[in-house]
């Protein structure tokens, strides 16, 4: 239990109702994790196409929207699953309240998914004319409007920024949880997207040039380093509020969240950093793939801990 009592008073709760347990649990972690992949691959694709010729990453044109589409659907399904009244999700579109970051996020993420779906239909239609079946109208539309891909891509890239960040604003609007502060959470979401995006693309980069893969390793290494630095400074030096301090003191004292946090740190940040560095020095694709897998697993663990620990606090 999280509290920091004044020892002299010996004040103890002797009768009360049970406090609420964890409200936003691992379903929300999956939501954030999948969204990081979905927007991260878009960032990375934009970066790689800016730096390299398209021929250097021959499959990126269709794999990027495909990965993003799958990840975003996981993200949206888990969002829906977490609602206690899933069918009323439609109320966000029928009765939106624009003061809520949840509303903004739902609208932006939905639009983003539509654009990603269009990119996917275009690229899959070009690459695999018979998929999903011969005469499919969607892929036929994509094939016939191939030039639309390049026109849509800048909007998709731009939209990926607020779609990545809005969860951090939801967390900031969750004013009962002092550990989540807007500036750090926004940056953590961006680093997480770069981490997850580069890690996801590493798995499909077998046919890419060495330089392109080196860039993936570079982004992974940089993002895990900066994200790690931010987590460490938050974990050890978040003294701005009594509540955040009490939560962190509880985690520092040991227990399952402490263990999970440090396992996540090692897997998600420390291991990928050194493996990414070594890849830039001497290319080893197997180790880079291991770094990517490790980053994705570690990111999930750390996000899960960071989501749950402020919810251990008794609010009243």
């Amino acid at each position: 239990m999280v509290e920091s009592t004044i020892r002299a008073t010996q004040a103890v709760v002797t009768l009360d109702v049970p406090i609420q347990g964890i409200i936003w649990g691992s379903i929300i972690t999956v939501n954030m994790w999948a969204k990081s992949i979905g927007t991260g691959v878009v960032f990375l694709a934009g970066f790689l196409w800016f730096r390299h010729n398209k021929e250097d990453m021959p499959n990126l044109r269709w794999t990027m929207p495909l990965i993003a589409f799958i990840a975003l659907n996981i993200f949206l399904i888990f969002t829906l699953v977490d609602l206690h009244q899933p069918y009323r999700m439609v109320n966000i579109f029928l009765h939106p309240s624009w003061s809520s970051a949840i509303t903004w996020g739902s609208w932006l993420a939905s639009l983003f998914l539509v654009l990603i779906a269009m990119l996917m239909f275009i690229s899959i239609g070009e690459k695999f004319p018979g998929v999903p079946f011969k005469g499919c109208l969607l892929t036929k539309f994509g094939r016939n409007n191939s030039a639309l891909y390049e026109k849509l891509m800048p909007f998709v890239l731009f939209l990926a920024i607020p779609v990545t960040m809005y969860t951090a604003i939801i967390m900031a609007q969750s004013s009962a949880r002092e550990l989540w502060q807007a500036p750090t959470e926004v940056m953590q979401m961006i680093w997480a997207a770069l981490m997850a995006g580069s890690a996801a693309l590493i798995f499909i980069s077998g046919s890419w040039t060495k330089e392109a893969r080196k860039d993936l390793a570079l982004v992974l290494t940089f993002s895990v380093f900066f994200s790690f630095a931010m987590y460490m400074s938050e974990y050890f030096f978040s003294f701005k509020s009594a509540e955040a301090e009490a939560v962190l003191a509880f985690v520092h004292s040991g227990g399952e969240y402490n263990i999970k946090f440090w396992i996540g740190m090692v897997l998600g940040f420390i291991v990928p950093f050194f493996l990414g560095m070594s890849h830039m020095k001497s290319e080893n694709m197997t180790l880079l793939r291991f770094a990517a897998l490790s980053a994705l697993v570690g990111l999930f663990l750390v996000k899960d801990v960071w989501l749950k620990i402020p919810q251990l606090l008794a609010l009243s």
Binding site: S4, T5, I6, T14, L15, G21, P86, H95, S99, S100
Partner: protein, 251 residues
């Protein structure tokens, strides 16, 4: 008009009459509370004292729950009450994450968020909230805080130096005030909540949020599978089946 609440903790004797009245008036399901009275023991035997703190929604003027609600299910009434429309609520629990006072719960019967509304339905009919009526010592004072002649305004003026709100640092501007409270009663970080058995019952965490009798899949099937059949009686039956008398603490 802005309705507000004041609890004089010097008068409160912890009878829980307000808690029961609220439960009955609003048909608050088992395992959830709109209003609760918390007992806190201070000191070391034989020099000890017990304080009682009724806790309910603060109906903040700058309510984080109203701000985060994506569908305006939480909304202001003209009299300042932060009301909730359970027909519109999507059950995202954003309000539960935003409320710094932990005053919002997920109703296990409707699977929507719910909270104290200062008995808005009674006020509409010119009556006082149920908890005010039930209080035998008139520790609950309710009225228009914008009217200088109202009982609550005059009470605040009388005790001006001793009037407190919970967590002022959150900048929520609560319209719920306390007289006679201290840090050890109003600040949840200033008293210890022991794990395990306490004075009367086992106080730990709730294992569930919302309807524990229905899993995630049931939320999707609910409109077709008679989800509304769950009520207090079925909740009670399931709890009895799950836990033995001894496991519950022998209360």
């Amino acid at each position: 008009m802005k309705l507000g609440f004041l609890v004089d903790l010097n008068l409160c004797m912890g009878c829980k009459g307000c808690e029961i009245a609220c439960k009955v008036e609003n048909e608050v399901p088992l395992s959830t509370w709109r209003l609760r009275v918390k007992y806190i023991d201070v000191g070391v035997f034989p020099d000890t004292s017990r304080s009682f703190t009724p806790l309910r929604c603060n109906h903040c003027e700058n309510a984080p729950c109203e701000r985060i609600c994506p569908v305006s299910a939480l909304h202001y009434l003209e009299n300042g009450i932060v009301n909730i429309d359970s027909e519109r609520c999507i059950g995202c629990a954003g309000c539960m994450m935003a409320c710094p006072y932990g005053a919002i719960y997920m109703d296990p019967e409707t699977n929507t968020a719910d909270k104290c509304t200062y008995c808005a339905h009674r006020i509409e009919s010119g009556m006082m909230p149920a908890c005010v009526v039930a209080c035998p010592v008139e520790a609950n004072i309710f009225g228009d805080i914008e009217d200088d002649h109202s009982h609550i305004s005059q009470y605040i003026m009388e005790h001006r130096g001793a009037v407190q709100v919970r967590k002022p640092e959150k900048h929520t501007s609560p319209t719920h005030f306390y007289v006679g409270g201290g840090n050890q009663t109003l600040n949840p970080l200033a008293h210890q909540r022991l794990e395990g058995y306490d004075l009367f019952n086992k106080i730990t965490h709730l294992d569930h949020v919302g309807d524990k009798n229905h899993g995630i899949l049931d939320r999707f099937l609910a409109p077709f599978a008679g989800h509304d059949a769950v009520d207090n009686a079925s909740l009670l039956a399931s709890e009895i089946a799950e836990e033995s008398h001894e496991q519950e603490g022998g209360h």
